[in-house]
């Protein structure tokens, strides 16, 4: 009798558990970006952010798939070495699996080439381009999603950020009249953003006195800074990544160049700048789409750190993307099965394209033409850390 009861109990347990475990599926999301080379930190942070967000979603029950079953996210991250050819190869590899979306890349030069191999206009039978949705988290150069209807981005608009920043500076410091630039000429993002900075400075009535130019791996800045010193500008705007931003700032200190205001590139609002030259960067103002100022953002920063990364404007975008993907999967009833891959990709593309608004870590994020319209704020370096200076959206 006892034996029969045990068998019956076992059978019952099996009957209850088998359908549940069959229903709980793994939904693999593949990220890609630079995980080797000098911009490895971008990939490391993105991967950590994707994993951290996936863990939060999984712990909250996972994602509901089209057939009503529950799925748990599993993150895989591939290295494209910030190289366009590698990026294309990585995406072709991802697209040959049953993945229905990929998150990346981290470098604008990769995104620019990669989006070019996607089908330009969705549904165009004459276009044999790759029909695979990609949502970028880091690649920040303006307007990249225009390249293909399969390309999406969750990156902030630097045009909007600097437009707002220069207008704000004009109201806060009306006594400042002149500006001098510094730009890393051989890096697509820095170069493009410098164009935006210059345009906005001129639009706000600043006299652009000149610009110092250098390369990403340059080691001496004495000539450029000497020209800057001769120009004696009120504002210095540097569009460069942390290594050369710090090099230029250190040279400015040596030559006694003390502008009344310093402006930096979005990508430099990271821990790298503070590790490299906290003292010289003191006071530099940078617009950013992430700072741990809301409870969600603070929690996200903690979660990303637990996964070995650092939350900044780039990785925070990756974190948000996981929640966007969850919503789209549920709204579009994506099945995430090997035999529904083509349909799932179309559903994912349509779902992403239909988004008008998503929830970001700093608040609501608008969407237009497959690009994000993110809230942002200005931070400045103060006593070795980034401190919020102003919230233009509030």
């Amino acid at each position: 009798m006892k034996r029969t009861a045990l068998v019956a109990l076992g059978a019952l347990a099996l009957a209850c558990s088998t359908p549940a475990s069959a229903q709980e599926r793994t939904v693999k999301i593949t990220g890609f970006g630079a995980k080797s080379g000098v911009v490895r930190i971008f990939g490391v942070n993105s991967e950590a952010a994707l994993k951290a967000a996936a863990e939060v979603i999984n712990n909250a029950g996972g994602v509901t798939l089209g057939d009503g079953s529950k799925g748990k996210f599993a993150i895989e991250f591939l290295d494209d070495r910030c190289n366009a050819e590698e990026g294309i190869s990585v995406v072709r590899r991802i697209a040959s699996t049953d993945a229905f979306v990929a998150v990346g890349p981290t470098c604008s030069n990769v995104a620019e080439s990669l989006f070019g191999i996607l089908q330009k206009k969705a549904g165009d039978a004459s276009d044999t381009g790759l029909q695979f949705p990609i949502i970028a988290d880091v690649a920040a150069k303006g307007g990249l999603a225009k390249i293909s209807e399969w390309a999406f981005r969750n990156v902030p608009s630097e045009f909007d950020m600097y437009k707002s920043l220069f207008a704000w500076i004009k109201t806060q410091h009306p006594e400042l009249k002149t500006i001098y630039g510094g730009v890393e000429k051989d890096f697509a993002h820095s170069n493009a953003t410098f164009g935006v900075m210059k345009e906005q400075a001129t639009a706000n009535g600043y006299q652009v006195l000149g610009q110092g130019e250098w390369l990403l791996a340059d080691t001496t800045f004495s000539t450029q800074v000497r020209e800057m010193r001769r120009a004696n500008p009120d504002i210095v705007a540097i569009s460069a990544h942390p290594f050369t931003t710090c090099g230029a700032l250190k040279e400015m200190e040596r030559q006694g160049v003390k502008p009344k205001l310093l402006i930096g590139l979005t990508s430099s609002s990271s821990i790298e700048t503070l590790q490299g030259c906290a003292k010289q960067a003191e006071g530099i103002i940078i617009p950013t789409s992430f700072a741990p100022v809301t409870p969600e953002a603070k929690k996200a920063a903690e979660n990303v750190a637990k996964h070995g990364g650092s939350a900044d404007l780039h990785s925070a975008a990756a974190y948000e993307i996981m929640f966007i993907l969850k919503d789209v999967i549920e709204q579009q009833k994506i099945m995430a099965k090997p035999d529904t891959v083509a349909a799932d990709r179309v559903k994912m593309r349509e779902g992403l394209a239909a988004l008008k608004e998503t929830m970001g870590l700093l608040g609501k994020v608008g969407r237009a033409e497959r690009e994000a319209i993110k809230p942002f704020l200005y931070v400045h370096a103060k006593d070795g850390s980034w401190v919020v200076l102003h919230k233009p959206s509030s």
Partner: protein, 296 residues
């Protein structure tokens, strides 16, 4: 050109020449290995930067003065140099010049990637001596830290020349460089001399790495490739195998680079340096100070 332009041009030249001391140190490393083994060690600049990175481990443990950090960099350079020889040369068929060239390219990438994976590619602060000292001479300023780099670089070169021309080890090194077969017949261990050459150039590289870090104030894996190119240019212009040539060419390239930056801007600067390299390869392939040919 007005007076201010002239002053700036001279200042640019002076800054460049002082920074060129680091190129000279790198050039000596390249040229010494070439002089002894007739091989190019393309991983030399990466190993030098690697040594400077290794010295930062000391700062992670204790608050050490910059001078001690530089010493650790030199010692690390010696160890890395020896390892480079053992991995990239010792067991590679030396008769095939491409084999060691490829093995050192591999080592360059390997060292670079080790640095990237250890530091995530994030630039790290590097200590400097006399960074707040500026020597003023009329309208000209000379950076104290660069002056220190220059003086230390010159000191290293003098020490190296003394080692090569005033010691038995130097005699053995020169013997292996000029007549390896005869040197071996005289009982000189070629492998031993090669190991020592790599250790010594490694130490020199460690000093160069530390001086580069000190001059910039930071270390980044971004530095390896451009410094490899600069080291090679200096070696070719100075004359493969010529130590005085490497010294002069290092200072020359450093000064020219800054001067060209001043007159032609960043987009043309490297173009002219490369043109200079081609000009030397075509019109004076032996470089500024090509060593006299040996009896072989």
């Amino acid at each position: 050109m007005d007076l201010l332009d002239l002053i700036d041009a001279v200042q640019s030249l002076a800054d460049g020449v002082l920074f060129g001391a680091t190129y000279a140190l790198l050039g000596i490393g390249f040229t010494l290995v070439f002089g002894v083994m007739h091989k190019i060690n393309l991983s030399y600049a990466a190993a030098s930067i690697g040594a400077a990175y290794a010295s930062l481990l000391l700062l992670a443990v204790v608050k050490a003065p910059p001078a001690l950090v530089f010493l650790v960099s030199a010692a690390s350079g010696g160890v890395i140099g020896t390892l480079v020889y053992l991995i990239g040369f010792r067991f590679i068929p030396l008769a095939n010049p491409l084999a060691t060239l490829m093995s050192t390219v591999g080592l360059l990438l390997l060292i670079d990637e080790i640095i990237v994976h250890t530091t995530q590619g994030v630039p790290l602060n590097y200590p400097a001596l006399f960074s707040d000292v500026i020597f003023r001479a009329g309208p000209f300023n000379l950076r104290g830290d660069l002056m220190f780099v220059f003086v230390l670089g010159c000191l290293c070169m003098v020490l190296l020349l003394a080692l090569l021309y005033r010691t038995r080890l130097g005699l053995a090194t020169r013997a292996v460089s000029q007549q390896p077969v005869a040197a071996e017949l005289c009982g000189i261990s070629i492998t031993g001399v090669n190991v020592l050459t790599f250790t010594i150039t490694g130490i020199l590289g460690g000093v160069a790495g530390a001086m580069i870090g000190a001059a910039i104030g930071m270390l980044s894996p971004l530095l390896s490739l451009p410094l490899t190119v600069k080291g090679l240019i200096v070696t070719v212009i100075g004359g493969l195998g010529s130590i005085p040539g490497a010294i002069i060419a290092g200072l020359l390239v450093g000064g020219l680079e800054n001067l060209l930056q001043f007159f032609r801007g960043v987009s043309e600067r490297d173009l002219y340096i490369m043109l200079l390299l081609f000009a030397f390869l075509v019109f004076r392939p032996g470089g500024l100070f090509a060593p006299a040919a040996g009896r072989d």
